[in-house]
Symmetry: C2
Subunit: 353 residues, 2 copies
């Protein structure tokens, strides 16, 4: 538990100066330090188990190689941890470390979280949210290069790039999957519209019908909620006591938990899945969608990819020439979702196409 070795210790042991140690260990030894010295330095460093003090390096270089991540409740929620995981993997691969501050959805803590991070001299910032949503970036976030993941600032002047899932396309491809299976009467169980994810998925859903030249039956888009019970009750409304010919043959849900509720309802009503009813989820929630009975066909959110893309962009910005400060690029990168076909969807029942 004795103090860690410093560059000076290494220098002494190798019989050289600290400068030499620094040069060699940073790969700029050739042409500056004699070959023999280099070897001795390397050996000394190894025997002393020397690694540089990152704090001191940060202070000296005025770059901490720390990326601050502010999240609204990613850490405590079972959902989007993968965004952070994806981001962190990229950061780590480039010698960065991330420190995340979770505001637990208390927006009044945004600014102070960013301040704390700024005081720690983070080189860049990333704001991550659990669900897709618009927000006003904390002003002090603009002090360092920043990026938004799974959220966006819709004020055009904000100028912070965002990486978000292509929800419209996701909704469209989900519907298309079912249309191709012959379904014509498809219901959509949405969550509330507090997050723009729901309306966008619905938009895509309708787009698919329009492209197919088919109408969306009125009353088939139901705003229920996001949880199991909402799915259950929504499904009961759609199915319970309704004549077979008047039931939708497929239900697409705005997330996998809704889909669980729908399956629960179908089981209770004695409907076989997918023979009598096809069910789709959304999210491909870890260990939920794939282990359901039946396993859920779902639209996977590209969480890891989003995190990775956001971090890659951010780090890229950091290494660029810092001349072009005010080239306000308010990009918005759309990452496509991934259709995962499992057992809960199948051909439309005979006579209903």
């Amino acid at each position: 538990m004795n103090r860690k070795a410093t560059a000076l210790d290494v220098a002494k042991l190798a019989g050289v100066s600290r400068s030499a140690v620094s040069l060699v260990l940073n790969g700029r030894g050739d042409g500056n330090v004699a070959k023999e010295s280099q070897v001795r330095i390397r050996e000394a460093a190894a025997t002393l188990n020397y690694t540089p003090n990152a704090i001191a390096v940060s202070l000296r270089n005025r770059r901490s190689r720390i990326i601050g991540i502010v999240s609204d409740q990613v850490v405590t929620s079972p959902f989007d941890g993968n965004i952070i995981a994806g981001a962190d993997a990229v950061a780590r691969s480039q010698g960065f470390v991330t420190v995340v501050m979770d505001t637990e959805s208390d927006e009044s803590r945004d600014e102070s979280a960013v301040s704390t991070l700024l005081d720690r001299q983070v080189d860049g910032l990333m704001y991550v949210t659990v669900g897709l949503r618009p927000l006003h970036v904390p002003l002090n976030m603009l002090r360092v290069p920043s990026v938004l993941a799974n959220c966006f600032d819709d004020r055009p002047e904000a100028g912070v790039p965002a990486v978000i899932p292509d929800e419209v396309r996701g909704g469209r491809e989900a519907a298309t999957h079912l249309l191709e299976l012959g379904h014509r009467d498809i219901a959509f169980l949405a969550g509330d519209s507090i997050t723009p994810a729901a309306p966008r998925r619905i938009q895509g859903h309708c787009d698919a019908f329009e492209a197919a030249g088919l109408p969306v039956r009125p009353g088939r888009i139901i705003q229920a909620g996001w949880d199991i019970d909402a799915g259950f009750h929504g499904a009961m409304k759609l199915l319970d006591g309704v004549a077979a010919a008047d039931r939708p043959t497929a239900i697409v849900c705005a997330n996998d938990r809704l889909a669980i509720g729908v399956v629960l309802a179908a089981n209770r009503l004695g409907l076989a899945i997918p023979q009598d009813l096809s069910i789709m989820g959304y999210d491909d929630e870890f260990r939920i969608a794939s282990t359901m009975v039946p396993a859920l066909t779902t639209m996977a959110l590209p969480l890891r990819e989003m995190g990775a893309a956001a971090m890659t962009g951010l780090l890229g910005e950091l290494s660029e020439e810092p001349e072009n400060d005010d080239s306000v690029r308010a990009d918005q990168t759309l990452v496509p979702c991934r259709l995962v076909v499992r057992e809960s969807t199948g051909p439309v029942p005979a006579g209903r196409n």
Copy 2:
């Protein structure tokens, strides 16, 4: 985006020296700096929007006020983020910041994660796991005060304190809840025994029966798995085609997802919950247990509390006199679980008690 103000800037503006600024802003002004100067310094700091550079402070004080957290897959999993959240809340309240490195369950990355953290000069370390499990603490972890959360090192000489849930008691109280409702034939659906959580919960289960002077029917403890499908198939084995008098009247599951599977099966078999069958979960998984249909009675894991307790202990150790280094306290703190009664459990069906 201009450079941040430094203590020197403040000193100049206030017409004093850096030392004075440091003293005042650290609350040791009285008795050292004239009242007027104090005011001027505070004003100057405010107008310049000065906050100290944490990196510089760390270097000088040789304490970074950073706690490193190594997790096996907490971040990406939907489970134990709350351990980290609880830990982080405590850390933040004392001016610490946490940086978590997720090894994504690759144990070979343990050492390097710890090294990275150590290079960053963390003041302490915490190791968190998703499921309760024994482990060998990475050796270099012993270089700074450390704590384990939801895991433990069973080598007596390890000497790293651990905070874990009281699983035995949890299993006992779950069984007791059902026994009190009159159930006598209770099945236990366990996960695999890779994690000691399962055997401990089973242990508690059997303890409760023994305390009640009742036998556990043979074949009623089933090792299934941890996911929805395992619950489904386990339940089918227990219930499908079995005479009513020979069916268990209650099933307690080793987690909430197993319970979902059991409900799914019950629904399919036309069994009403809790009238025909009581079902218990374990974990009180966020937005799962409380929104199931019916809402699940479950045993809540004290995740936040564990994280908070672990961090509190760790920070306490940091502020203690560092004289008593080798007082190898291999404590193990057991945090009790919390019974949450909802709708999925009820009195035993008539004639089965």
